[in-house]
Symmetry: C2
C-alpha cells in the first residue's frame, strides 16, 4: 500500500497558489490526473479554464468558488465538480486559515454530459 | 458547478461503518466509483477485498490501515492507494474522533501495475 502525503510533496507556485501535482509520485494506472493545492489566507487562484472535468475535495479551510456567474461556498469535507471548459476562481476568504484542496481531473468521455 | 456534501448524503451501514456511495448523486461521466465512509471512534471496517484499485483520502481523524501484513498510519489530509485484490481493514484508534474518508475506486487497466 502506498501512502501519499502532501507533507512530502515538492510544490510549485502558480500565482499565490502552491500546487503539488501527483505526477511526482510516479503512480501508474490512475484514471485521472491529481494534485493538491493550497490557497493562502485572504488570497485566490488565478482564473482557470481547461478541457478536463475537475472534482475537488476541500481538505481544510473553506473554498469560495466563483464559477458560471455564481459564488458557491464549499466547506471542509465537501466536494465540488467543475464541468469541462468552465472558468473558475477559488478564493480563500479566511484571513487566518489556509485552504487545502485535493483535485482529480480527466478529459470527458465523448457523449457524457460532463 | 455541483457541490457534493456528505451532510446531504443518505448513508448505509456496513458493519460499524457508515457508507455514503456517490451513485445516489446521479453524477455522469466519473471515471471511478466514489464514496464517503465514516468509522466511529475505537472501531474498524470489516475486512474488505475487491478487484478495484482504491484511492482514499482521509478527510478527518486518522486511519490505521492493516494491509499486506503491515500497519500504516494515514493522517488527515493524506491519501492511501490500495492495489486490486488486497485485503484491508481500516481502524479508527481514536476514542473520541470519527474517521472520515473519501474513496475513489476503479477496475485496473490490463497491463497496469495497479
Amino acid at each position: 500500500m502506498r501512502v501519499i502525503d502532501r507533507a512530502d510533496a515538492v510544490p510549485s507556485q502558480v500565482g499565490a497558489v502552491e500546487v503539488s501535482r501527483w505526477e511526482q509520485y510516479g503512480l501508474d494506472g490512475l484514471p485521472f490526473g491529481a494534485m493538491w493545492y493550497s490557497v493562502p489566507p485572504a488570497s485566490h487562484s488565478r482564473p482557470d479554464r481547461h478541457p478536463e472535468v475537475e472534482l475537488s475535495l476541500v481538505l481544510s479551510g473553506a473554498a469560495t468558488v466563483h464559477v458560471d456567474g455564481e459564488v458557491r461556498e464549499v466547506a471542509a469535507g465537501a466536494a465540488f465538480l467543475l464541468s469541462a471548459d468552465t472558468e473558475h476562481v477559488v478564493h480563500n476568504r479566511s484571513v487566518t486559515e489556509p485552504l487545502v484542496v485535493f483535485s482529480a481531473y480527466w478529459l470527458p468521455t465523448p457523449g457524457a454530459t460532463r
